[in-house]
Structure formats: C-alpha cells, structure tokens
C-alpha cells in the first residue's frame, strides 16, 4: 500500500511506502535489541573493555543512513554499533567483534570502538573524541578529487565540538566545498559533562555560521525528520554545494559507557526523554495512521529478538584469534590475503 498525500498528511512528504516505513522501524528495533543484549552479555563477562551503547539515539543512525547509498561513506566515533549495523554490516559480525572473536568485523582485535567494513563503506569507529573528523573530511577530499558520485556522512557527539580537529575540519570542508555532511548527535552530555558546562552557546547549529556552513537543528528522536534533513544535505553535497551541519537533538537512555554510574543526571530527566523514545513514538504513529497494525509491529519485535539471539550464538561459537596472528593485520606490509582479510 502506498500512502497518498491526501490521506496521510504527516508521513507522505517522505514518499515512503509501508514496507519502507516498517523497514525503518525494524532497523531501529534491531539496534535497540542488539544493545540490550549487548549489555547483558557485558554483565556476563562475555564482552569487556570499553563499550558505549547507542540506546535512545537509534532514530539518528537509522534515519541518516537510510538517506545514503551503499557507496556513501560513513565515519563515526566510538558509540558506533548503531551506525555500523545501519550501514549494513552483518550484526553477527558486529557481535563477534564485541566478543573479540576471529569472525568479527576487525578480526576481533578492534572491539566495540573499532568496527570497520570497507565492503559497505563503513570507514570506522574511532576512539579519540573528534579525531575522526579530519579522516571524514579527507575522505570527502578524495571523493571530490576523483570526481566520484558519493558523499561522506560523519557522526560525532556534542563533546567533539570543543576539539580543535572539529574546527580545522569544518573550516577546510567549507573552504574547499567538500561533499561531507556533519551530523552532530547532541545527546546533551559528554560523559558526565552537561552541554551547558562545556559550551557558552545553547545550540550548536548556529556555530556552523562561523565557517560559512549552513547549520540546522533536527529532531533526532524522529527518524523521518532525520532522514529528510540528511537527504537534503546529501543532495546539496552532490550538487557541489559543499558541506552541511545538522544538529540532531537526541538523548542517550543508558550511561555513557558500561563503567559509568550516571550520577550527573536525575531519573526524572531520563524519564522525560523516554516519553520521546523513537521505539515507542514511531510505531504508535504507524498504527495511528494505519500504516501498520499492532500485530505487525509485534511480529517485527519477535523477529529481531530471534535475530540477535542468532548473533550471540554466532559470536559464542566463533573461534578466538590465533595467537600466531598477533603481529599481523597492523601494518600495511602485512595486509592479509584472500579470505583472511578484514
């Protein structure tokens, strides 16, 4: 069923049919389920080390990546499970990476913060706050130089805005009119530091003006709003009009990382934001506007539960990396051959 404008004034501007709308929901539900089970596995000691969950921000990754093609590059920070899966990496391989297994996206040696898959042009999660922005900008320079028909979308947090690398990247991106979309996920905290303690300006999007880049605020809890904004920014970049800056207003429901007791904010604050949980509001909207039934939603939720169960089974059964490979896959000279490769 295609939704026609007269009937569905809210959803139709996006020109999405029922399958596509349910697809967006399905991907968000998968990310949510994936992170919930990841937390469980972490508590059981199957996953260790740094691990930052994406719970609450699903509408950003899913909405933004849905506006991209497989050829478009994505570069993100350490809170990267959401973008990686949305970009099309098999979630089984993501889970295996979290388990440190040989079948993981980075052969088990990257872990949660260093997912990577060149096949789907997911060019990595990076642990240094803001450190990936020059990488994304450089990729965009390569795209422009080679006159390719694709763009770069890069995701980063409110904490990254204070980094020098952010400043240098935005300046050059606009100066050289590079095809890059800067997607700021303003979840109101950089670890335990609330944005009002880290920035003298309330909003970040007007800051884009300091570089001559158009900046815009977007409801990051609304998957369609995100998709729409990124679509426009992508079109601009493809038209040779240079970079865009999108500030996604979002929120993370869980602590910063698995080692954060979260004492810097109140339960009440989290509860208020949970009212706007995209996994609650989006299916409600689909049902209300008769795009889907409650039963269809429940079926999807059951399917993603099963899918994540399979991810965990896959990760558990996969082999550990070979100790003999310890020194490999680090330097270019040791570039793995054939099927061994990442």
């Amino acid at each position: 069923m295609t939704i026609r404008h007269e009937e569905r004034p809210v959803l139709t501007p996006h020109n999405l049919d029922e399958t596509e709308l349910l697809g967006l929901f399905r991907r968000m539900a998968l990310l949510r389920e994936f992170e919930e089970r990841t937390a469980e596995q972490y508590a059981r000691g199957r996953i260790w080390g740094f691990c930052h969950l994406y719970t609450g921000q699903e509408a950003v990754a899913v909405g933004a990546v849905s506006a991209l093609t497989r050829e478009d590059y994505v570069v993100t920070a350490y809170r990267d499970h959401g973008q990686a899966i949305a970009k099309g990496i098999d979630p089984k391989r993501v889970m295996a990476e979290l388990f440190g297994k040989r079948t993981g996206t980075s052969l088990g040696r990257g872990g949660s913060m260093h997912l990577f898959d060149r096949e789907v042009n997911f060019m990595g999660g990076y642990a240094i706050v803001g450190g990936h922005l020059p990488i994304a900008t450089g990729l965009a320079l390569a795209v422009q130089y080679r006159e390719e028909d694709r763009i770069v979308a890069t995701f980063f947090g409110d904490g990254a805005v204070a980094e020098g690398a952010f400043h240098e990247s935005l300046n050059l991106a606009q100066l050289w009119q590079l095809p890059v979309v800067f997607v700021l996920e303003n979840n109101l905290y950089g670890m335990g530091t609330a944005v009002e303690r880290a920035s003298a300006t309330r909003d970040f999007h007007p800051r884009a003006e300091a570089y001559g880049i158009p900046g815009e605020a977007v409801d990051g809890m609304d998957v369609l709003a995100v998709r729409e904004a990124v679509t426009r920014a992508r079109d601009r970049a493809l038209d040779g009009k240079g970079p865009s800056f999108l500030e996604m207003k979002t929120y993370r429901f869980r602590p910063h990382s698995m080692s954060d007791p979260g004492r810097y904010r109140t339960r009440g604050e989290v509860d208020i934001w949970r009212q706007r949980d995209p996994l609650r509001t989006f299916p409600e909207r689909l049902i209300e506007e008769e795009v889907a039934t409650r039963e269809q939603i429940d079926v999807i939720l059951g399917e993603v539960e099963e899918e994540v169960r399979e991810c965990i089974a896959f990760a558990e059964e996969s082999p550990h990396p070979e100790p003999a490979d310890l020194m490999r896959f680090v330097w270019a000279a040791d570039e793995p051959e054939g099927e061994d490769g990442p």
């Binding site: 400043h167 100066l175 003298a200 300091a210 880049i213």
Partner: protein
C-alpha cells in the same frame, strides 16, 4: 558588541552586500579617523602626551624594522620579521592596557614590547643572540620575552599562545585579581585547533581576556580568502558565545578605543571579547620571504599606511609639525645606532651556556655533548 557608554561601538549591521558565506550583512568596522586622518568618530580619552606617545612608538617601531631589515641584508643578523603596516594595531592595543595586564603575543607584536618600555637595546641583543641577550641566543630571532613586563615569550608554533592566554586569564579570575590578558593571533592562526579550544574555553569560563586577531590578509603566501570561507573573522566569535567586533586596524585611535572598552569589560567581570583588527602586512612575511612571488606589487602599493594617517590628525590639531618630525627621526636614528653599537661590541655567549637555562638539571646526554664540544680539537 561591547556595552560601554564611554566607548560606543557600531551596532553591527549595515546593509552592505552579503558575503561569500551567504551572511546577510557586514559589520562596519569601528573607526575614529578617516583614511586621510580627519576626525570621524569619537576619539578615546587621551592626554596630549599620550597622543604624542602613540605616534612616537609607531614611528619608533617603523624605524626599528627598517634598520633591522638592513642589518639582516648586510649579514649582521640572521633573520627578521617586520610589522610594517601593522604599527597602529600593535601599539594601540598594548597602549590600552594597564601595566599589570599580561600580553601573550603571536609573532608580530614587538610594538607591544616597546609600549611596555622594553629597552630597544635588548631587542637588538635578542636578534644578535650574544652575551647581551638575556636568553643568550637560545631563542629564535624576534622571539622576545620580558617576564618583568608581563610579556610572554613569542612562540614559533602558531596559535599555541591562545590557550595559554585564556588559562592565565582564568587564573586571574580564580584569584579574583583585576588582571586582564591580551592574547594576539594572526588571521592564519584562526584555522588552528588551538584557536578553537581557547575561544571555547574563554566563552564557557568567561575569562577576563581580550583576543585580538591581526587580520593582515596574509599568512605567509596564503591570502585570507583561502584561509576561511567566512569573510569576517569577527563572526567566528558568535560560535563561542563571545562578542566579536571589527576595528580599523590602521586607525590607532580606533584600536585604542576598542581594546580599552574590551579590557574594561573584562576587568569588570564582563568576560572575553574578540577583536578583529583589519590591517595589512605591507612587507614580506620575514626576511626569508619574497612576496612578489605570490602577490601583485600593486596590492602592496595600495596599503593604507597608519603612520601618515595619524600624523595628519596630530598636525590638524597643532600637536605635530615638520620640525618635530625631523627631530623625532634624528632621535630615533641616534637611539638605534647607539643600541646596535653597544650590542655589536659584545662577544658570543660562553659555549658552556649552550645547555643552561633549558632544563632545571641538564640531562647527562647533553652534558656529554657539551663536553665533546668543549674538548680541544686535535
């Protein structure tokens, strides 16, 4: 904008054409003197002696620059970076401070040191790096430092003085004293991450500082149009919640007015201000640079010289004339001659001082190297 009754500044927007960044309006730079030196705005409150001192210091800096370039061409000093064309910005801004305020220079602020009363002889000594130099030749030429005058050493790394300046201002705020910090930056320096970190910090912690960008249109061979897509660097301040304004950097009275208002504001707890001074690097980047290879000589020929402009203002008010000018030039020549003569008579530093003054305790490796240097040659 700086809210200060005594030093009104333009409210920011006038309907000039939109910039390449699509910004709707341009700011009107603060100006007191017209290009030919007529009084156009409200002059800052200065005594006749102070007015004359501004002129004397600008002329002194110009004369010094010219002579040092000659010395370099004669092979008597190794390197020099002139501030020709930027005299009004450096002299005016330093003049607007109080003696207890700290200055964190970028690379072209020797004029600020002159204003602080640093002896010209010591500047020459720094360039020779001989025994007359306080740092005994350890620093690169033109990297003056005068702790007693609260003038921090120049640093070769572009922009790293700004986080330090903001940090010093933060210290002043924590201590609750009335010190204000003036940090300089070039137009090229604004592309550095350190500029960004410093501005953000200044905005969040409302540190009592003035950040002054000398937009001289060039960063070595890179014109400002290739440095940033934003036409007015002052606009960048808004991104950090800091007031930003443009001032005609070739109008010494306007620079004094703007810096004084910003320093007053900082001193009263009003937080930081960003000033973009529009000026022009009339000479080469340094004596190792040949600007004819990257910019048209006509461009340099049209530069607005701040010194005759201010002189015209003084003459119109009867405070200056040809005779006084001749006297000043002779006086400056004498001062510079005497300084050079005195410094050139000094020997090179003792080789043993090579490793002194860098580490609290020189590491063994350096001591070994020094021993080798001092060992008599066979």
């Amino acid at each position: 904008m700086i809210p200060s009754a005594s030093h009104p500044v333009p409210s920011g927007t006038a309907g000039s054409p939109s910039g390449p960044d699509g910004s709707p309006d341009s700011q009107v730079p603060l100006r007191v003197l017209s290009p030919d030196g007529g009084l156009e705005g409200e002059a800052p409150d200065l005594s006749p002696t102070e007015r004359e001192a501004l002129y004397r210091q600008m002329s002194r800096l110009r004369a010094f620059d010219n002579r040092m370039i000659n010395l370099q061409r004669q092979g008597r000093i190794g390197f020099y970076g002139p501030a020709t064309g930027q005299e009004a910005t450096t002299v005016g801004s330093a003049f607007a401070l109080e003696a207890g305020d700290w200055i964190f220079p970028a690379l072209r602020e020797a004029g600020a040191l002159l204003v602080r009363g640093y002896p010209l002889r010591k500047m020459v000594a720094q360039l020779y790096g001989n025994r007359a130099d306080d740092a005994l030749g350890h620093q690169m030429p033109c990297h003056y430092t005068a702790r007693e005058l609260r003038f921090v050493s120049m640093s070769s790394c572009i922009a790293n003085q700004l986080p330090q300046a903001v940090g010093a201002a933060w210290a002043a705020r924590i201590r609750g004293d009335r010190t204000v910090v003036l940090g300089y930056i070039g137009d090229g320096g604004t592309s550095e991450g350190d500029f960004h970190a410093a501005m953000n910090f200044a905005g969040v912690f409302r540190t009592p500082c003035v950040i002054l960008c000398q937009n001289n249109r060039w960063a070595i061979s890179v014109p400002v149009e290739k440095q940033t897509a934003v036409r007015e660097i002052a606009r960048k301040a808004a991104a950090y919640g800091i007031p930003g304004l443009q001032v005609d950097g070739n109008d010494v009275l306007a620079v004094v007015a703007a810096t004084r208002a910003a320093a007053d504001r900082a001193r009263c707890g009003g937080g930081p201000t960003f000033i973009e001074a529009l000026t022009y690097r009339a000479g080469p980047h340094t004596t190792s640079d040949d600007p004819t290879r990257y910019r048209a000589s006509e461009e340099a020929g049209r530069w607005p010289d701040p010194i005759p402009r201010y002189r015209a203002f003084l003459e119109a008010s009867g405070a200056w004339d040809e005779e006084r000018e001749r006297g000043l030039q002779a006086e400056l020549e004498g001062e510079i001659d005497a300084a050079i003569e005195e410094v050139e008579a000094e020997p090179a530093p003792d080789p043993a001082s090579l490793i002194e003054g860098v580490f609290a305790t020189p590491p063994a490796l350096l001591r070994d190297q020094l021993e080798e240097v001092l060992r008599p040659r066979r």
